[in-house]
Amino acid sequence: MKAVSVEEAVAMIPAGASVMVGGFMGVGTPERLLDEVVRQNKTGLTLISNDAATPGKGVGKLFDQALVSRLTATHIGLNPKAQQQMLANQIAVDLVPQGTFVERIRAGGCGLGGVLTPTGVGTLVAEGKRQIEVDGKPFLLETALRAQFALVHAFLADYLGNLAYALTSRNFNPVMAMAADTVIVTAEHIVPVGVIAPDHVVTPAPLVDYLITNG
């Protein structure tokens, strides 16, 4: 793990990159990283995020500046700007059931080619996908999902990069921290090694490439 400034970290992300962003309706989202992505005007992003949050909040800021060209998400109904950009064909949107979304990312981070899920069988979600029977039950083959970058927000990070999360701000963060080539983390508090007890570490330090420094 390397400690870097938010400017340095975001400078590593090229325009057009694929980026996973943790958070659920803007809760548990690395806001400082997103503010810097907006400031450095990183356009044409492929965004993988549970939702589009709301304008001005979380990944909603990326839609305010029209920085997203492709989106994989589960629900964008609470962000009218993301909706407008989708309906105007400015963004290609892939809507995925939430349990499938997280399992695809988990598969991507765990070296699996994909998962078999009953969710979506017999619906629009099944179109173009392989259906596989196991013990007489139908499942959809849903392929793994990875990104070049994961932008993760933790409650605590220690000097090595071990992470712990707070309440519902955990959500997709630990799963995404496994599924990207480069993992960049912001934390509410950076604490000495040992403050997070081994039992309470959720994301192990070796998964974290860059920790954003305070100030």
């Binding site: 949050a53 609470l78 989708m86 499938t100 399992e103 619906t123 959500n171």
Partner: protein
């Protein structure tokens, strides 16, 4: 009584002590208000919490404690948190005893459509498809009709949420179940006749000899 309250109170009667329950947004959220205090029910919020409590008092909200709509909530003693993979493992894996969801249409076989209106409303399915596919019992809480048009239809014209049928539909007029895969009128709301239910129901309904009043 307000139609939404009729629905919420009737659905609350379906919950049993020890149940793990997931409530959708809208009318389903109201159900928690009518669960008797001596009934120990665990409410899950799919963004990663079991043990959701009421909206916090003024000034007590915390940005890391929210429901699936991003609104502030509280956590009850004994609450626990987990990531989204665990949360949907609970849902899809059959560990959630009951889910209560809103609906746009339910058809005569119990199929639900509740996630999109093509060309008009395409918000995404969020967790709905996993909940209907995986929860042990799926209860739909919705108005019986919208603008005079029945939401209990012969066949869903809107895209389905799941190929798996729901178990129970509770509306402001009736309770409908699907014994042997056939829509059946189980109860009528107070002051509502069987004829009034039928007049606002597009799907063919089986009518038992005795249809009791809704238990509230």
């Amino acid at each position: 009584m307000d139609p939404q309250i009729v629905i919420a109170r009737r659905v609350a009667k379906e919950l049993k002590s020890g149940n793990l329950v997931n409530l959708g947004i809208g009318i389903p959220t109201l159900v928690a208000n009518y669960v008797p205090s001596d009934l120990k029910v665990f409410f899950q919020s799919e963004n990663g919490l079991i043990g959701t409590g009421p909206i916090p008092e003024q000034g007590m909200a915390h940005p890391t404690l929210t429901d699936a709509g991003g609104r502030p909530i509280s956590a009850l003693p004994g609450a626990c948190v987990f990531d989204s993979a665990m949360s949907f493992g609970l849902i899809r894996g059959g560990h959630v005893d009951v889910t209560v969801l809103g609906g746009l249409q339910v058809d005569a076989q119990g199929h639900l459509a509740n996630w999109m209106i093509p060309g008009k409303m395409v918000p995404g399915m969020g967790g709905a498809m996993d909940l209907v596919s995986g929860a042990k019992r799926v209860i739909i809480a919705m108005q019986h009709a919208a603008k005079g048009k029945s939401k209990i239809v012969a066949k869903c014209s809107l895209p389905l949420t799941s190929a798996r049928p729901v178990h129970l539909v509770v509306t402001d007029l009736a309770v409908i179940g699907f014994p042997e895969g056939k829509a059946t009128l189980l109860e009528t709301a107070p002051g509502i006749s069987v004829g009034e239910v039928l007049a606002l129901t597009e799907a063919e309904l089986a009518i038992p000899d005795h249809v009791p009043d809704m238990r509230l």
